[in-house]
Symmetry: C2
Subunit: 228 residues, 2 copies
Amino acid sequence: MSAPLQIGLVLFPKVTQLDFTGPLQVFSSVPGAQVHLIWKRIEPVSSDSVMMLTPTIAFADCPQLDVICVPGGFGTDDMINDEEMLAFLKQQAEGAKFVTSVCTGSLVLGAAGLLKGYRAATHWTAMDFLSAFGATPTRTRVCVDRNRVTGGGVTAGIDFALTLVSLLVDRRTAEAIQLRLEYNPAPPFNSGSPDTAPPEILALMKERIAPAQIRRGEMINRAAARLG
Amino acid sequence: MSAPLQIGLVLFPKVTQLDFTGPLQVFSSVPGAQVHLIWKRIEPVSSDSVMMLTPTIAFADCPQLDVICVPGGFGTDDMINDEEMLAFLKQQAEGAKFVTSVCTGSLVLGAAGLLKGYRAATHWTAMDFLSAFGATPTRTRVCVDRNRVTGGGVTAGIDFALTLVSLLVDRRTAEAIQLRLEYNPAPPFNSGSPDTAPPEILALMKERIAPAQIRRGEMINRAAARLG
């Protein structure tokens, strides 16, 4: 019997919980996989939506992972300048089979220098920030470039995780998980992308996030300057 | 300013976490909504996938909810015969605007007598069990029958929650949330339903779950007998 697959998702304050709970449901359905929720310390971490999150292992105790995955959320604005997080990702990336992210988690991979020369996906509102880290922004739901596998915004994490399982294990395993999770989506509206959303909804959203985008831009500039 | 919408999701041991983390992400994006994670006591509850869950409020302290939602998972086998859970749901259902579930959560609503004479959805593997509680099994991703709104298996919770927000608030609000969550799904395979999964994957899944189905049938019979 071979050693179990080691899959780790990092947590941090203000993570968008669905960015990692979607992939977590998929990964923990992989036969024999050991899945870790990782943070600096074993202490409750606040998500963006009501729920407190409890890590299962601290950075210092984490084994070498086969898959390291960074979810997104407003908290990534802090993580892109967090030396401890960036050092952990760099160290894990050296030995990992796959270096991955969902949503704005790709900005954190970028800030760790792990996307230089790679194509990468991210949330549609963050696409313009990827190039600061030498990555090529890619408007696909899942982006596979060598061993970098990055997902688009929030719910893209489910498509991302099924794709990754097919690469990591095999297609049959991914299909069985898809059936178990009844992932046969039927969105009631057609507003899930800036290309399809009603123009007034898109305009309202852009207006609402404008101040956060300015703050994010400043954090990105700091992170890019450090990366050099 | 009107009172905030009160939305509550019940937790229990061995809940399928994506059954409620999908809706939680949607509900907590509704402007002015107050979202509760509810269990008998404030104590960590184990999910089906690595993560421990922390309730935000106990049954006894929960205000009257506008929306009560029961997620699914293997833990529902215990909940359908749990007097404390069933009493809580019955009491909340009397004053709630919407009585709802995702996945096998509908079996718990059924065991509480809340689906008698209603159409309801559930996970594809549990469809045959609904009629024991006087509900009409409905093979749709989201099923709306008067104020009972039930979702299909696991990932259907996202479609369910967006539909519910459109009923509870308005369509524009649901569309704005869909855009924020980039819910523009693109499953990499076509295995998300028993109608589309490769036959050998479906056969394997049915074989794997057969023992659990027998146990579930026994629990359903007990619950149906109690309901009378």
